[in-house]
């Protein structure tokens, strides 16, 4: 009697589970989008403080170009760029936080690599900063190039980063014996390097430039000219929600394309009457550009009005703060850089 009852309940449970999955798969609207709209805020994972990319001021306001990606998504799906809940994460925690569903976007100066994209349940949606790994040393050391590195050099860095792997490749290829000192938090790395524990500090060059501003005496340190790796940094989402992935990708693309067409937060509204259909599509005045995501037609206009285009974001966060005034490769393709996004049409 009991035996049959057990079988029956497990059968019912199985059917219920299968049914739940089929209905979920059939729903057109993204589950993450639905949850986000229900909660009323976008859950965004950022760094624990990297000036220019994601950094909180004394009153807890987050700024930075990584932060702006999340704000753009919030503007698109919730209508308000401020409706974001930021979760500061260490390099070690970031992917688990995303795959476990604690956050919905990871916008935390994260390098796009094959194994990360393919193996661990993540999908990279684009690049919002082209970077490369470099080294910082004390000026007084007289080192001006990585060719002056010698056996026994100690290098401070973060664990759980591509940096740790690149560093090994670099020193091995040069045949230099080195002492890796890897910390969990960026602040700890900086503190240890600043104290003299390490001869060099290595991470993405943008990170070096940003962290230098936090040091006791920034002028005592220089970033060496060599770049030892490609580090395309960009926002990441969980695998398995294609619509949400598209929303984040095209929120970023909108910012970059808006700069291309000269649409800024100030002139976005007046662009509605532009003669150029490409511009009109970007401000929601032509076509049905939001329907495919389950959004209204002015989602992209809100991004540009509330957050601004990529150029505005870069200027506000990275150039004006003195971190990297020169945009380098992060310039539009039309102006000699490599920022090139597919057209919104």
């Amino acid at each position: 009697m009991f035996k049959h009852l057990k079988q029956l309940t497990s059968l019912v449970a199985m059917i219920a589970v299968m049914f739940a999955f089929t209905t979920e798969a059939m729903a057109k609207k993204s589950k993450t989008l639905k949850n986000t709209q229900k909660k009323g805020f976008v859950r965004c994972g950022v760094s624990q403080g990297l000036p220019g990319f994601s950094n909180a001021d004394a009153s807890g306001n987050w700024t930075g170009i990584d932060v702006d990606v999340c704000r753009a998504v919030a503007a698109a799906v919730l209508g308000d760029a401020n409706k974001v809940k930021f979760t500061p994460l260490s390099a070690k925690e970031r992917f688990t936080a995303l795959t476990s569903g604690e956050i919905d976007i990871l916008s935390r100066n994260t390098t796009w690599t094959l194994s990360r994209d393919a193996d661990i349940g993540l999908t990279f949606v684009g690049v919002n900063f082209y970077d490369g790994q470099g080294f910082m040393v004390r000026k007084s050391s007289g080192i001006t190039s990585t060719s002056q590195f010698k056996d026994g050099i100690s290098a401070c860095t973060n664990i759980g980063t591509t940096t740790e792997l690149n560093m090994r490749d670099f020193f091995n290829s040069k045949g230099i014996k080195y002492e890796p000192v890897a910390f969990e938090k960026a602040d700890e790395v900086v503190a240890a390097y600043d104290a003299g524990r390490c001869d060099t500090y290595t991470t993405d060059k943008s990170g070096l430039a940003a962290q230098r501003t936090k040091m006791k005496n920034p002028n005592e340190h220089i970033v060496l000219p060599e770049t030892i790796s490609k580090e395309p940094l960009g926002p990441v989402v969980r695998q398995g929600d294609a619509v949400w992935e598209d929303i984040v990708r095209w929120s970023l693309n909108t910012m970059i394309e808006a700069e291309e067409y000269g649409i800024t937060s100030a002139n976005a509204d007046s662009m509605k009457t532009s003669d150029n259909p490409a511009i009109k599509r970007l401000v929601g005045a032509e076509g049905e550009m939001g329907a495919a995501f389950g959004l209204d037609n002015e989602w992209n206009l809100r991004i540009i009005k509330q957050v601004g285009n990529y150029g505005e974001s870069y200027k506000r966060n990275i150039a004006d703060t003195g971190i990297l005034p020169d945009r380098g490769p992060n310039q539009l393709w039309t102006k000699g850089g490599i920022l090139y996004v597919p057209p919104a049409r």
Partner: protein, 383 residues
């Protein structure tokens, strides 16, 4: 019969509940991993780790597998725990006895020590020793030697390394000395039981431990040389010591913080143990003519140990688990390397966290088993 069923039903329900919960967790994890295209498996352990470690006891290179990285990181964890347990025991016993001293100054300094170190969070203490104490240390080029040949610097503690010739002869002499000491102890006990005579076992043991290894130097052809750390210039203002052994500051800070913190708890266990023995025991022992040394060794300590061991075991377990705070100061222990870097590179969160949890469980249970065995050995034997 009816009663029996009544007793059984809650137990069956509990088991069913536990099984269902585990089943739910497993299914939930499986469904979510499937959705995100994450595979479950331990194949990654054979892959090349491709990251380096700062400090290892065995040879390790980035070309080795994740499995080997795990072993090497585990050894680092065990090293810290081992050193921590030894130092916290020595310190703890001294402080615990000092708290019972008649001397006002000793008694109160010990009490202050205990209250101070046990009431500050351990993580803060680790940060203090690593960041504050470390910053106060000199750079290699300005370091003054300690004991003539060792150098304490911001980059680590450099000590001479030993270069042995015929090390195996020396080791066999050492083992021979230890084995003969064990036999002499057994013989001494029998002698006392049979004839009531006492041998000066302690002095004989010390003598053997010194004389036999000495002989290996004189006759056995054993030679010992020291390789001293030598200052080397890397760049204009960047120096390092080469040669000898370098103990990284991360290891030192961690061992110091763990030992100081845990020693306060051990001290309290020791104090409790000694105070738990009634005064009458000591007076009775004195009245049968035992001297103070014998009273402590034969009457007080055997009884006090019974009170001291179980709570001290807890402290050893705590220390071992607390050693995982190493991750905060870049000491490459199991949590930093395996549950940190390896997890990040492979993305095998469930597998790696599972292995790490099982590892700590195994270490803790082993320590507990060892201490339980010791506790059994010294407990009152009912005759």
């Amino acid at each position: 019969m009816n009663n029996k069923i009544k007793k059984l039903i809650p137990q069956i329900l509990t088991i069913l509940f536990v099984v269902l919960i585990f089943g739910f967790f497993t299914m939930n994890a499986q469904v979510n991993m499937d959705n995100r295209g994450i595979d479950f498996g331990f194949g990654f352990l054979k892959q090349e780790a491709s990251f380096d470690m700062q400090f290892t006891l065995l040879d390790y290179d980035g070309q080795d597998s994740y499995a080997w990285a795990y072993v090497v990181a585990l050894l680092n964890t065990l090293l810290v725990s081992f050193l921590g347990i030894i130092f916290c025991t020595i310190l703890g016993v001294i402080i615990g006895v000092a708290r019972l001293s008649q001397n006002f100054l000793i008694k109160n300094s010990a009490a202050w020590y205990v209250e101070f170190f046990r009431n500050i969070p351990l993580l803060l203490q680790i940060f203090f020793w690593y960041y504050a104490a470390l910053r106060a240390l000199p750079l290699p080029e300005t370091a003054e030697p300690w004991f003539g040949v060792t150098y304490m610097t911001i980059k680590g503690y450099y000590i001479p390394s030993m270069i042995w010739e015929n090390l195996n002869v020396f080791l066999s002499c050492l083992i021979a000395a230890i084995v003969s000491i064990i036999f002499i102890r057994i013989y001494a006990r029998k002698l006392q039981e049979r004839e009531g005579k006492q041998l000066p076992v302690f002095y004989i043991s010390i003598g053997l431990l010194i004389i036999l290894p000495m002989l290996s130097f004189l006759i056995g052809g054993v030679k010992l040389d020291f390789e001293l750390p030598v200052l080397k210039q890397l760049a204009q203002t960047s120096f390092i010591f080469e040669g000898g052994i370098a103990l990284p500051p991360e290891l030192i800070a961690l061992v110091v913080a763990l030992s100081l913190y845990t020693s306060t708890f051990v001290a309290e266990c020791v104090r409790a143990g000694i105070q738990g023995i009634s005064k009458g025991q000591k007076e009775a022992a004195a009245s049968v003519g035992l001297n103070p040394n014998q009273i402590l060794k034969l009457v007080i300590m055997p009884q006090a140990l019974r009170i001291i061991i179980p709570p001290t075991t807890n402290q050893y377990l705590n220390l071992t688990k607390n050693s995982s705070l190493a991750a905060a100061i870049a000491y490459p222990d199991l949590v930093l390397v395996f549950a940190g870097t390896a997890l990040m590179q492979t993305g095998k969160a469930i597998e790696i966290v599972g292995i790490t949890m099982l590892t700590y469980l195994t270490i803790s249970l082993s320590i507990a088993a060892l201490m339980n065995w010791y506790n059994k050995r010294i407990e009152i034997k009912e005759k």
